[in-house]
Assembly symmetry: C2
Homo-oligomer: 152 residues x 2
DNA sequence: CTAATTGCAAAAAGTTTGCAACCAT
DNA sequence: ATGGTTGCAAACTTTTTGCAATTAG
């Protein structure tokens, strides 16, 4: 456990968004100089292999990373703005386990990405009331399919 | 509509798997010589923009393509073998639309990828009976979350 | 001390692009 | 004819790697 790894770990744990490697590199540099981008690449790869990070692809060519959440959450990407909305949904969680089981598999990891366009006359469903209400940056999400944070 | 595009279209329509650009290029070459990989890249990009193809990322660095299915289907990737199992699930379909609506969005596109490990003592659920039953390569899938094709 | 980790720069891999030649309409 | 499409090769971007120097344990 070297200083560089500790530094990257710190940058990651402080991030509430989905930085790509270059962004991680920039943040690490800002926080404490002298680290190489090769190390960042090597470290995220390592952390991904260990199951600590998950690699995402929201389009745009570069891989993005976020800490693995063991109560999963998912992403809705606004195709207009590129903004990413995180959400959790227990029913979905249940369903995918059921699907996997039905196919004879045990779930190791999961990706759900919804790409959508904001609706004009949005939100008249009951659940919509709780929308746009919480948005403390760090404390991630949780609760029945409520939107969580909106981050790039 | 040039010969090359027609050729690529044909290769794609004959594919029941998820080829990457190099694979498409190889197949196109085999089928009828003299086409350049740049054209393949340009064509898949174009078809993706037109909504005819969808780009997938199953890990491994290269983008893979498949025809857009308007009754969606999803992928379960066997982490051990890399094999891809396609499946459809109406309940999931319903749920994601509901989730998007709840967040104020209209769904444009969707990705669900499950990564799983084959279970030893697989399949004792009721639904499991229909498992491993159909596997005609070309005719894609369809029906309530039954496994469809198993392809690389 | 030894094995693991780092920085650097070079290279690989995947994708995009400028441009002149070419083809469909 | 002319505007879109192609091939080629060069360029770009992202990621990986060899190697000597450095550091953790």
């Amino acid at each position: 456990m070297t200083g560089q790894r500790r530094l990257i770990a710190r940058v990651l744990s402080e991030a509430s968004d989905h930085p790509d490697v270059e962004e991680l590199y920039r943040r690490a540099l800002a926080l404490d100089a002298h680290i190489s981008i090769a190390t960042v690449y090597r470290t995220v790869r390592l952390l991904e292999e260990k199951g600590i990070l998950e690699r995402r692809d929201f389009g745009g060519g570069r891989a993005r990373y976020e800490p693995t959440e063991h109560g999963h959450h998912y992403h809705l990407i606004d195709v207009e703005s590129g903004k990413v909305i995180e959400f959790a949904d227990p029913e979905h969680e249940r369903l995918i386990h059921e699907i996997a089981a039905r196919l004879g598999f045990e779930l190791v990891s999961t990706r759900l990405e919804l790409f959508g366009r904001r609706r004009e006359n949005a939100a008249k469903s009951a659940a919509a009331k709780s929308e746009q209400t919480r948005s403390k940056a760090r404390g991630r999400l949780r609760t029945a399919s409520e939107p969580a944070s909106v981050v790039e």
